[in-house]
């Protein structure tokens, strides 16, 4: 692990660009056939047909809903949608590619991709989106040893993933700081989650390649990065590496490097160094798809609320602060959680505060990152609240108890630490333990009575010393383990002191 000090990245001329791949997990079927979109948990090669296996004579049948989803992503990222789009063949040989070409989009001979020329603001900065394209995922190679080990004596191929729809988002090299990349990727994640086109928590559903250069050096591509969070680490490492080379007058060459997740370093990719010629040409089997203004506006109408729209609504409707709203919408799961709780009990500010300032402390940030580690268990969606037994009902009840003065905030915090572990309702915890506030005057009077008996000398000073009442209150609270309602108790004490005259 390379530890970077703050400011280390402020090197002149850092340019970072991203290629983000999102599987359109919201679809029912693959991009060009009717096989399932969700292949997780299925037997290897149990989700294939003649089309996605590229059997001779089969033809791609474009999934129109995939075009809609890709169009939504493009609109959300402020891209222009061309009046018609086409598909191109990207020709290269690889065993995971059933046809030995990939169906994708290509803009070198005129615009054919679903989106071009967009942008996304993150904080005060903006990154331009060069293009968004729709394409098919290849199959998956499974090596004898489990990992990418080229010494394996055999390799298995699982085509379940072959033909899954991917949206590729290509940015301009506008980033200068890996931290910004992280923020940007979180933003993208929230957007595609809100659109409902990609469940970023599903394993392997989002991947990101990065390219980076520093002043005077050539562009280096970083591939094989397992998660969005790792991108930042890989970039930090790569900046340090390129800087060091530059300082020693070693030229940074154009190359592709793989991120080694275990050792946290980039290393030269085994892929061939020469520029590969993909011999792009238009796919004759998919007729040109006409989109046009009418289509685009119909998609616009269908689009779910976007994060920034949701934020504005949170501010206007729930009267939340800008900051709280931002934190909530940055993660769709959090925002959804909030709104579910508010539906149960309408106390938005209280609930939002509990979620943002308290609940978030218990979530593991790493879990929000989707991993592509092929060895882990498939079909395991990693939720933001993974490991926590929390649901909106519990937070809503917590807010109810606070609003009714049944418990104070400190008590509520204690309850929260318990319910996230047990999954109980706050009221269940209260009933079981001693934390409930004592409001019953008879019970409190009994406590006051016994304190008065024990503290006779203090009571004698009461007439001359106004602090005695508070001293006695402290004693009562101690006796009741802090459960007595302080207001009621103090009133009782004062009345009793007055009565002594």
């Amino acid at each position: 692990m390379v530890l970077m000090k703050q400011g280390d990245n402020e090197y002149p001329g850092i340019k970072i660009g991203l290629e983000i791949h999102c599987q359109l997990t919201g679809l029912q079927s693959k991009l060009f056939c009717s096989c399932f979109c969700n292949y997780h948990g299925l037997e290897p090669n149990g989700n294939i047909c003649p089309i996605c296996c590229g059997l001779p004579g089969t033809l791609p049948l474009l999934n129109k809903t995939a075009v809609e989803s890709a169009c939504m992503v493009s609109l959300a990222l402020d891209c222009k949608i061309p009046d018609n789009i086409t598909f191109y063949r990207k020709n290269y040989f690889y065993p995971d590619l059933p046809k030995n070409f990939q169906l994708t989009q290509y803009n070198a001979y005129g615009i054919t991709s679903i989106g071009v020329g967009g942008s996304l603001k993150y904080g005060e900065k903006t990154s331009r989106i060069r293009r968004i394209q729709l394409e098919e995922d290849p199959g998956r190679l499974v090596y004898e040893s489990g990992g990418i080990d080229f010494s394996s004596s055999y390799t298995l191929i699982d085509y379940n993933r072959a033909g899954i729809s991917l949206v590729e988002i290509v940015t301009e090299p506008d980033f200068t700081d890996p931290k910004d990349v992280r923020v940007f990727l979180n933003k993208i994640t929230s957007i595609i989650e809100h659109l409902g086109v990609c469940n970023t928590k599903r394993q392997g559903s989002v991947r990101c390649d990065a390219n980076i250069s520093i002043q005077g050096g050539k562009r280096v591509e970083i591939k094989n990065v397992g998660s969005f969070k790792e991108v930042e680490k890989a970039l930090n490492y790569e900046i340090a590496r390129q800087k060091t080379m530059s300082m020693h007058d070693i030229k940074v060459l154009a190359e592709t490097r793989d991120w080694d997740d275990a050792r946290k370093v980039t290393k030269q990719s085994r892929a061939k160094e020469e520029e590969q010629d993909y011999r792009y040409f238009p796919e004759p089997d998919i007729p040109t798809i006409l989109l046009g203004e009418e289509y685009v506006s119909s998609i616009r109408k269908k689009m779910p609320e976007l994060p920034y729209e949701r934020k504005n609504r949170f501010i206007a409707y729930y009267e939340l602060s800008d900051h709280i709203s931002q934190v909530l919408i940055d993660n769709k799961e959090l925002a959804d959680f909030f709104e579910s709780a508010v539906k149960i009990y309408s106390s938005p500010k209280e609930i939002a505060n509990w979620i943002v300032t308290e609940l978030l402390r218990y979530t593991d940030d790493d879990i929000t990152e989707a991993k592509i580690d092929s060895s882990s268990i498939p079909n395991q969606s990693s939720s933001l609240f993974a490991g926590l037994k929390i649901d909106p009902n519990q937070i809503a009840e917590l807010a109810i108890l606070i609003d009714r003065n049944t418990i104070n905030r400190n008590t509520a915090k204690i309850i929260l630490t318990q319910i996230i572990k047990t999954g109980e309702m706050p009221s269940q915890v209260l009933a079981r333990t001693d934390v409930l506030k004592i409001e019953d005057k008879i019970i409190i009077s009994e406590a006051v009575e016994s304190v008065f008996k024990a503290e006779k000398s203090a009571i004698r000073d009461a007439k001359n010393n106004p602090n005695v009442a508070n001293f006695l209150l402290g004693k009562v609270m101690k006796l009741t383990k802090g459960r007595a309602d302080p207001k009621i108790t103090l009133n009782l004490i004062k009345t009793k002191l007055d009565g002594l005259d």
């Binding site: 059997l55 004579g57 033809l59 020709n91 040989f93 010629d277 007729p287």
Partner: protein, 482 residues
């Protein structure tokens, strides 16, 4: 019993329906005929005896029990071996696919079966439909039934020769740059290349997707029309088929006075005997009250180069899937790194296929894409526009199907350019996507000559009207002695 195998598809269908003979009797005769003549012509490369007999008995039973039967009931049809047949080997006459059994039927095959046609087997072709003589087949060449020293034409040589040799009543071929019309012309039968987007290509193993169509070959125009009624029309498995033509319903009305253009460049460019026939065809049409004129086409000279550039580009990509990983032939990957394995197994392609993959790869490379592929596409667009404006003035255009007569084996096989040149008259229809039909127009030195008729997109009806008019006013032999 009379020679049932010699009957046209229509006659077979009528005979079986009326109870004159049974489908089984007819199929037995067809199978005997294949056994007798196929060693001479080598048109059929895989015979489905059991499947054919079984289907024949089913048709007979349906007729006996007065069940509903399909419009093609009992007709023996052969399928070019680049069209997928479920459970029946489909090899493309390539060593690359010598063990390949498709798990599904091509749409056209399924429709034929649904209409109660009887598939008798698979027919020879140039490997992956690349060739104009059926000499490039891993099963050996197909001979011309009119003279077995001569080629049958290609690439659908088996489809044309099998019909001419009466090994089946009708057949399916595929036409990328003339592959139906060339052999149909060489064998004196009728062959149609439909409009691009009229017949589903699902299940046609592609050579050049943007150019090719499946089409029928028969002894008569009406046999070809009969098959078209079954195979044409929208298909959920092929998005390039135009949905507006779901159920074509061709009728015959040869009364209208057609405006006919004879393409001068193509007719004059043919061998003298051939161009003479085409001019006399024009005279015949004139005598039948059609309005005939000679016309000129500007882009004919560039058509061939454009065609081969596009076809080879697409082919190089289409054929890259043959890596023997998922299907193909028996060859263990044991001990090979995958790149080495791909290289090893792909050497199994024949020379002509290799040549086209290499050229296609070259014209698509980023350095030459603009110089070749893009230019070829531009010419294609110009040619389309030229034809479009011509079809505003003329209902049909006529020309020779082939510029030369059938040639002897080996005459052109060593000179690829010479072989490519003979496609000059046919590639135009593929580049423009328009329909074209060839009908027998006579013989020279006992070798067949074909008349080619072209019409505007989806104007098959006009083609059929003209072809039928010509056919019914000529009497040209379609059944050689074998």
């Amino acid at each position: 019993m009379s020679k049932l195998y010699k009957l046209s598809a229509k006659e077979v269908n009528t005979g079986i329906r009326s109870g004159e003979f049974t489908a089984e009797e007819y199929i037995i005769q067809i199978l005997e005929r294949i056994d007798k003549v196929n060693p001479k012509v080598n048109a059929v490369i895989c015979i489905d005896r059991n499947g054919a007999l079984e289907k024949a008995r089913l048709v007979d039973r349906k007729i006996r029990e007065d069940e509903k039967i399909g419009p093609l009931a009992g007709i023996a049809i052969g399928i070019k071996d680049n069209i997928c047949t479920s459970g029946l080997k489909t090899t493309c006459a390539s060593k690359m696919l010598e063990e390949y059994v498709p798990p599904y039927d091509a749409t056209v095959v399924r429709r034929l079966k649904d209409d109660d046609a009887i598939i008798i087997g698979k027919l020879n072709l140039d490997e992956f439909a690349m060739g104009s003589s059926t000499e490039f087949s891993s099963f050996g060449p197909t001979s011309n039934p009119w003279n077995t020293d001569y080629v049958a034409g290609g690439s659908s040589g088996g489809s044309a020769a099998s019909v001419a040799a009466s090994e089946c009543s009708v057949s399916l071929g595929s036409d990328t740059g003339g592959s139906i019309r060339c052999p149909a012309s060489f064998c004196s039968v009728v062959g149609l290349k439909p409009t691009y987007g009229l017949v589903s290509r699902f299940g046609l193993i592609p050579y050049a997707n943007s150019l090719e169509q499946i089409g029928p070959i028969g002894k008569t125009v009406s046999d070809v029309v009969m098959i078209m009624k079954t195979i044409a029309g929208a298909d959920d498995n092929d998005q390039t088929v135009q949905v507006t033509y779901r159920t074509p319903d061709y009728t015959f009305s040869s009364n209208e006075k057609m405006r006919i253009g004879l393409v001068r460049e193509l007719t004059e460019g043919a061998e003298p005997e051939i161009s003479k026939r085409i001019y006399s065809a024009m005279d015949l049409f004139t005598n039948l009250d059609c309005k005939c004129e000679e016309i000129s086409m500007n882009y004919v000279d560039y058509a061939l180069a454009s065609y081969y550039t596009i076809a080879m580009a697409e082919a190089s990509s289409n054929l890259s899937r043959y890596d023997n990983i998922r299907y193909g032939f028996n060859f263990t990957p044991d001990g090979y790194e995958w790149n080495a394995y791909f290289a090893k197994v792909r050497s199994n392609f024949g020379d002509e296929v290799k040549r086209r993959i290499i050229v296609g790869t070259y014209v698509l490379s980023s350095a030459y894409y603009g110089k070749y592929y893009l230019k070829a596409q531009k010419i294609r667009t110009m040619l389309k526009q030229e034809l479009r404006s011509l079809f505003k003035k003329y209902d049909i255009l006529i020309a020779p199907t082939m510029p030369i007569l059938p040639f002897k084996f080996g005459e052109k096989i060593d000179d690829p350019i010479k072989m490519f040149m003979i496609d000059i008259d046919t590639v135009i229809a593929n580049l423009a996507g328009v329909p074209a039909i060839t009908v027998p127009a006579g013989f020279s030195n006992d070798l067949p000559i074909g008349l080619q008729i072209m019409a505007s997109e989806f104007q098959e009806q006009k083609l059929f009207n003209a072809a039928l008019l010509f056919e019914s006013n000529t009497n040209i032999n379609r059944s050689p002695e074998l």
